[in-house]
Amino acid sequence: MSETYYELFRRQGISRRSFLQFCSLTAASLGLSEVGAQEIAQALQTKERVPVIWLHGLECTCCTEAFIRSSHPLAKDVVLSMISLDYDDTIMAAAGHQAEEHLERTIEKYKGRYILAVEGNASVADDGVYCIPNGKPFIEKLRHVAKDCHAVISWGSCAAWGCVQAAKPNPSGAEPVHKSLRGLGKTIIKVPGCPPIPEVMTAIITFMITYERLPQLDLQGRPKMFYSQRIHDKCYRRPHFDAGQFAEKFDDDGARMGYCLYKLGCKGPTTYNACSTVRWNDGLSFPIQSGHGCIGCSEDNFWDKGSFYEHLPTILPPGWGGIESTADKVGLTAAAVTGAAIAAHAAASVVKQARSKSSNDKLATKE
């Protein structure tokens, strides 16, 4: 049997105390009790390590950056130990042919058991020329590695949804991983976010080792423990929302007092993610805590959903009623026009009524 995670952590100089802290932290983030932490510790000490192959397609590496910027040394070590051991072309020591050889060896050795984590996505326009690692279109490499994997983790919004390279008009034909892997019949766990929260990754791998099954996914394929609530539902500014206290501008008193950013276009009410609970950089902060609304980066196609700073979006094309033609302005205009039409019709009706009366009177006098 190859080594366990615990042996690996100890080899990398992580103390038993830190290991147990990690187990408790992960259990908490998965919504498990103390018993869960013990089960995790037990599993990581007795079960074989799950190999992870990490591929990079069209992407900006912000997912990897998010990992290595983790301020807590334990979290960083654990994350890197857990995911990058077998193959990660960005942060592995080997390069070139050596790296590719290693990839093939890993696939061979752990056939059907390794997890494939994909950061970024494949480009399919023009035969995939826009992403060519090792002289071949990325989609070929992706499908090759995915063929023998146990499960796929679509890591980040690029892999999960397509993200910026798939935004309109999508010249390179970038497509999310689940589309590239159509027909392979692999379970795909989407962990969207731009970048996603690093703790989600370790928590999912830990969960899979401990309970020997995949985490429960929602209808969109995201792990329920992290994506079943909106940013809005656990936002620390929610009391201001319920009170009706909204910042009107980024530099007004409301913004200074930490009021809700709803009217400044915060996408928290439509975004499913765990930022407001897990937060970033070892729980230091998250966008709303820094005074900027959520941009909804973990939602499908968030680049094409209009301005990040508008609550009511512009609904008419440019040139039709100015640049700020919101639903309310369009509605008010239509109401005004209708009101005027009603008034005109009423006036015409009165005239008509009066006329027919006078003609009736004339008829009556004639008779």
């Binding site: 499913y272 009511l312 009706s349």
Partner: protein
């Protein structure tokens, strides 16, 4: 007994009073009227909240926006239940209870009536034929604007409400498809907002027409909405 005979048809001769709108239809009408007002006001405020200057102080003790929302949700639930009851009544009720759900577009007579009615309202014709229930123009307006508008506003409204649940859970299991169909939740929100204006426009014209018909037309309208009985005025000329 004459209801069935003349229902929905152009009246051939003088008939005095006909019971047209059964109690559930009238009840639905007035519940809808009563619910639409707070729904529009609270809905507008949810879309465009008043400045925080009106709700200063410690957020812990203030619940203004939450109240606005809970009034909106409660009224929406009542609106929806009344609408569902009305749909049921369209199936089991009398002929007229189907008027606005199933305009008889297959009837030539109906199309002729629609034309006559439109010409009459455009002052191009002196008179339009009398109808026991809704005239064809009213039927098509109520179907296209009120019935379809209500369906859209109910579905989009529940889809927005469902966002409190995870994808596949609770109300989201029932209405998540609306977000998929419209591609994104913001589009659902915008459509819901536009539908409010759509129903308000309908209400403006509807209320105007009710009063105009009651004053100028040959049949009773306002009283009919209360007791369900259509009275035909004696010919003046």
């Amino acid at each position: 007994m004459e209801i069935e005979k003349y229902s929905g048809r152009v009246l051939p001769g003088p008939i005095e009073n006909i019971y047209v709108y059964q109690a559930p239809v009238r009840l639905w009408h007035w519940i809808t009227v009563i619910m639409m007002l707070p729904l529009a006001v609270t809905g507008y405020l949810i879309g465009a909240p008043p400045p925080a200057i009106y709700v200063g102080g410690e957020a812990t003790f203030i619940y203004v926006f939450a109240w606005i929302r809970i009034i909106h949700f409660s009224c929406a639930m009542i609106f929806t239940i009344a609408f569902l009851m009305r749909l049921y009544w369209a199936i089991v009720g009398n002929h007229h209870s189907r008027d606005i759900f199933l305009p008889p577009v297959w009837s030539l007579n109906w199309w002729k009536g629609l034309w006559d009615q439109a010409m009459y309202y455009l002052f191009l014709k002196k008179e339009a034929p009398s109808w026991v229930g809704h005239n064809p123009l009213a039927q098509i307006a109520m179907f296209a604007m009120f019935v379809l508008g209500s369906v859209v506003i109910i579905v989009t409204g529940f889809a927005l409400y469902a966002q409190q649940w995870a994808w596949g859970d609770g109300w989201m299991a029932l209405f998540g498809w609306a977000h998929v169909a419209l591609d994104e939740p913001q589009a659902v929100r915008t459509l819901h907002h536009l539908m409010m204006w759509y129903l308000l426009l309908f209400s403006m014209v509807h209320i105007y027409m009710v009063f105009r018909e009651d004053i100028m037309g040959k049949e009773s309208v306002i009283g009919t909405m209360v007791d369900g009985i259509r009275m035909f005025k004696a010919k003046e000329h």
